[in-house]
């Protein structure tokens, strides 16, 4: 177990290193000088030279890369050009705001997706099943940003139930904080709930047809116990993996959803940084997001091996 975890974490480190290489190459090799992008059309030669010197753009690429990587390893993620502040504290503040949204969405997804999928499978080909199937089909066909806008229209605009955008600190106004969390969480979860319920339904159907479920029924166990004690546990294996794998989708969705709801989190920060051409901020945000994603994937694998005793760690590379 320890060896397996160590190997996986080593692989994460390797992945993250390559991510830094890719991020660096893309931001430094693609046509378009960073200094020119930052200054936009209002540049003059002196400003350009000065900024190039500040950013160290005149050094050879490997030197620049090494300086950046060494900074990251020392916890220094660079300095935001636009805000003129170190990137790390900015990122940290945004992560603290986004984490409840992401975790909330993941919880809603897990709960709603599994419940809906199970209900649909148990009531196969009956009205409940059809309703869930159609709803989840719509769910995967409509992108988050459109769901978000429709929710704003209905919930905030028409019924005036919840605020449509913004953020307040939970220490200042706990209720206001929660109220502004609801719509982003729902929006983010909708697509994932659809995916999860479809997946749970089909794996549940497979399991319900298996020999051991038939055996359990033949022994005269009550249907409730057959479904929840015998079938569901095994049907959830693929769902768990996919849930953790969904984390990456969640990070991407966060960017869009935070923009829709003007929520000042990690995703909103990335969009801001890209619009402002704040390259150090963009680089750091993307590396951090990729890091979360990689760790989530490890967590998925570990959970899976833990849940499924058939898999031995030694078999896995």
């Amino acid at each position: 177990m320890i060896g397996y975890l160590a190997r996986r974490l080593l692989y994460v480190v390797f992945t993250l290193w390559l991510v830094t290489v890719i991020v660096f190459l893309v931001t430094h090799l693609l046509p378009g000088n960073v200094a020119v992008m930052i200054l936009g059309q209002y540049q003059n030669v002196e400003q350009l030279r000065a900024l190039e010197a500040t950013l160290g753009l005149n050094d050879p690429l490997p030197v620049q890369y090494w300086r950046w990587l060494r900074g990251i390893l020392h916890g220094d993620l660079g300095t935001s050009v636009v805000m003129d502040r170190p990137v790390a504290p900015i990122l940290w503040e945004r992560i603290e705001r986004s984490a409840p949204v992401a975790v909330g969405a993941l919880l809603v997804t897990a709960l709603a997706g599994i419940v809906l999928g199970t209900v649909a499978a148990v009531h196969e080909n009956r009205p409940v099943d059809h309703v869930v199937s159609i709803a989840s089909f719509l769910g995967i066909s409509v992108p988050e940003f459109f769901w978000g806008i429709v929710l704003i229209l209905v919930v905030s605009g028409y019924f005036e139930l919840l605020p449509s955008s913004g953020y307040v600190s939970p220490t200042k106004d706990l209720f206001g904080w929660l109220a502004r969390l609801v719509l982003p969480v729902i929006t983010l979860a909708l697509t994932l709930v659809a995916h999860t319920s479809r997946l749970t339904r089909s794996s549940m159907l497979d399991v319900l047809r298996s020999q051991y479920v038939r055996a359990a029924r033949a022994r005269g166990l009550p249907e409730r116990s057959v479904v929840y004690r015998h079938a569901l546990r095994n049907a959830l294996l693929p769902t768990v993996t996919v849930l953790a794998g969904n984390f990456g989708w969640l990070m991407g969705g966060l960017v869009v959803v935070e923009t829709v709801f003007a929520f000042p989190g990690l995703g909103g920060l990335l969009v801001f940084a890209i619009q402002q051409r704040d390259i150090p901020l963009v680089e750091a945000a993307i590396v951090v997001i990729a890091g979360f994603y990689a760790l989530a994937n490890v967590a998925a694998d570990v959970t899976y091996t833990y849940l499924d005793p058939r898999i031995r760690y030694s078999d896995m590379r």
Partner: protein, 294 residues
């Protein structure tokens, strides 16, 4: 997918069989009809608009749908119907272009990895895994960071983002084709690797890959729309679904029609493509179909 090798001489038979396939499968028929309709709208958009899509009707700002303006007008008094038509065209072009880029980048990589195998395969596939370790929208944003945005750059970025996915499929198809007799025959004739790869294997990967591409073109369309929504796609005065919706956000409570109509067009297209894709998968692989339909 087994029809791959049927060849053109069965064209007529294929059309008849095509009808038989559609008849028992409402999803395929409905999805196909929606996709064809939306594609026609996209092609015919320049003739379907009722006003120039960028023309201002200052007197008629933010008017609700009416006989004059079928889908209402936006904050500048531009006709939303005309903008949806033109936007649908641009969005569809971006989606198809992205898929083309995806195939052009992913297929050769997958072919190479599957055919050569060994170290090359390992390195290529690990590399692609790493690329896939970025959430797709984030990767697209990264590519678009350093260039000034535009619809074709978005298509290129989305294509690159989803290329690893196609490469994986191309690789697995290649792995199975590699063992076929005709490849062994070509090898024993002493044909070059280049010929075997592009003359023997590539033509036979075409059918399964096209199916995959058509199943996943919704990813490309939705990713491009999201990037556009974030301001990294079409630039005003040009427009597509994502940008129209982004611009309409501010007026959501006063003039919801500006966002709802392009949104509906987008959802209809994606629903159509998904229905069509599911139907196609059912038709091609009855085993999967029975399982997923129960």
């Amino acid at each position: 997918m087994s029809e791959a090798g049927a060849g053109p001489r069965l064209a007529r038979g294929r059309a008849v069989r095509g009808w038989a396939v559609v008849r028992g499968r409402p999803a395929l028929a409905v999805g196909g009809a929606i996709v064809i309709a939306m594609a026609m709208l996209a092609v015919l958009a320049p003739w379907l608009v009722r006003y120039p899509p960028t023309e201002f009707h200052v007197v008629d700002r933010l008017t609700p749908p009416s006989v004059l303006y079928w889908f209402g007008t936006d904050e500048f008094g531009r006709d939303v119907y005309s903008r949806v038509m033109i936007g649908t065209r641009l969005s569809m072009i971006i989606g198809c272009l992205a898929m083309a880029v995806c195939m052009a980048v992913g297929t050769p990589l997958g072919l190479l990895a599957g055919y050569v195998g060994g170290r090359t395969d390992e390195v290529l596939m690990r590399g692609l895994d790493i690329l896939m370790s970025f959430p797709s929208i984030i990767f697209g944003m990264l590519i678009l960071t350093v260039t000034s945005p535009g619809p074709f750059k978005t298509a290129l970025a989305v294509g690159i983002v989803y290329a690893p996915m196609i490469a994986r499929i191309a690789r697995s198809v290649t792995l199975s084709i590699k063992e076929e007799d005709y490849v062994a025959a070509a090898r024993s004739r002493g044909e070059s690797h280049f010929y075997i790869l592009f003359g023997e294997i590539l033509p036979n990967t075409w059918a399964p890959l096209t199916v995959e591409a058509s199943l996943r073109v919704t990813f490309a369309i939705l990713a491009a729309a999201a990037l556009s929504f974030l301001g990294l796609g079409a630039q005003p005065p040009e427009t597509d679904w994502g940008l129209t919706i982004a611009e309409a956000r501010k007026f959501m409570t006063v003039a919801p029609w500006i966002a709802l109509f392009p949104g509906a067009a987008m959802c209809l297209t994606v629903v159509g493509l998904n229905l069509f894709g599911d139907g196609l998968r059912d038709a091609l692989d009855p085993r999967v179909a029975r399982r997923s339909r129960g």
